[in-house]
């Protein structure tokens, strides 16, 4: 009667008994969360698509958006995503110091993106172009702000992971968390591609 289930029951408490596919299973579960998050963003894009040209006599995208500023934000987030990818290569090779360096650079670049976005939002509200002005600005602040909030929580997660890598080293659970954060971080960069294409680039064109 010594089958595998019985052997799990007799394992001592606290003993490491991780399923061999744990990392894959956790990564797939996180992927399903990302897909649900993608549907959340789809609803916000649909809202922006319907309301994005209703200016209510207020300013248009052409009046408000500075494309070179948006390009700067885009480059911050893209380089952050690519550097995080290099940090994951260092994770697989077990190079702890390179992982920490990569995470630190990715964090600073991501923080640069959030700082630019906060500065942009502050400037818009201070100039009287807040979300209450028109349906265009309401849907703009909701869509872009939701993405920015995600990036901010990703930065928080990245800070926690830097501490964990420094204190615990590249243990199996730490590697698994770093993998899921990499999925989150690349996912947010992909959502930003849709935002700069649909909101900013299309927004300054006279359609």
């Amino acid at each position: 009667m010594m089958n595998s289930e019985a052997s799990i029951i007799v394992t001592a408490p606290g003993e490491e008994r991780e399923h061999p596919d744990t990392v894959d299973i956790q990564a797939f579960g996180f992927w399903i969360y990302l897909m649900s998050d993608l549907i959340l963003f789809a609803t916000l894009f649909a809202t922006f698509g319907v309301l994005g040209r209703n200016y209510a006599g207020g300013p248009t995208g052409k009046d408000l958006f500075d494309l070179s500023y948006t390009l700067g934000e885009t480059l911050f987030l893209l380089f952050s995503s690519a550097i995080y990818g290099l940090a994951m290569v260092a994770v697989i090779r077990g190079r702890k110091n390179w992982v920490l360096l990569g995470l630190a650079i990715a964090f600073l670049l991501g923080a640069g993106f959030v700082a630019m976005e906060v500065h942009e939002f502050y400037g818009l509200v201070a100039a009287g172009h807040g979300p209450e002005v028109s349906a265009f600005l309401s849907s703009f602040f909701t869509l872009v702000g939701t993405h920015g909030t995600h990036v901010t929580f990703g930065l928080l997660w990245m800070a926690v992971m830097m501490v964990q890598v420094a204190l615990k080293g590249l243990t199996s659970p730490v590697q698994s968390r770093l993998l899921r954060l990499s999925m989150f971080w690349h996912f947010l960069d992909i959502v930003w591609i849709a935002i700069f294409s649909i909101v900013y680039l299309t927004g300054v064109l006279h359609v």
């Binding site: 744990t22 893209l78 380089f79 990818g85 590697q175």
Partner: protein, 108 residues
């Protein structure tokens, strides 16, 4: 080179070469639509098509080179999940635009 727990995971299958290839392609695909809109080199409709085309190709580049999702057996279910999500997204976005613009013209 130690074999960590990520060694067998499809989603972690990146190398320095794939990261840098993805970065260069993404930079080119970002530069094209920004340059077209900022210079106004093309007529409006062509510019819109270029923005949409470059954006979709860049998303595919990110999914392939950064997220490593493809039709290999490790990532098969990730691919199935994202295809289903894209179908739902098309219903949401396409359906909303269709209904609301139709309503808009009826109310004119």
């Amino acid at each position: 080179m130690s074999k960590g727990p990520l060694a067998s995971t499809g989603a972690a299958g990146g190398t320095i070469a794939t990261c840098l290839t993805g970065l260069v392609l993404a930079l080119i695909l970002t530069a094209i639509p920004f340059a077209l809109v900022m210079s106004g080199a093309l007529p409006l409709v062509a510019t819109l098509w270029a923005i949409g085309g470059a954006g979709m190709v860049q998303i595919a580049v990110h999914v392939h080179f950064f997220l490593h999702v493809d039709s290999s057996s490790e990532a098969r279910w990730n691919l199935v999940a994202i295809l289903y999500t894209l179908f739902i997204m098309a219903l949401f976005v396409g359906g909303s635009l269709w209904i609301m613009y139709d309503l808009h013209w009826r109310m004119m």
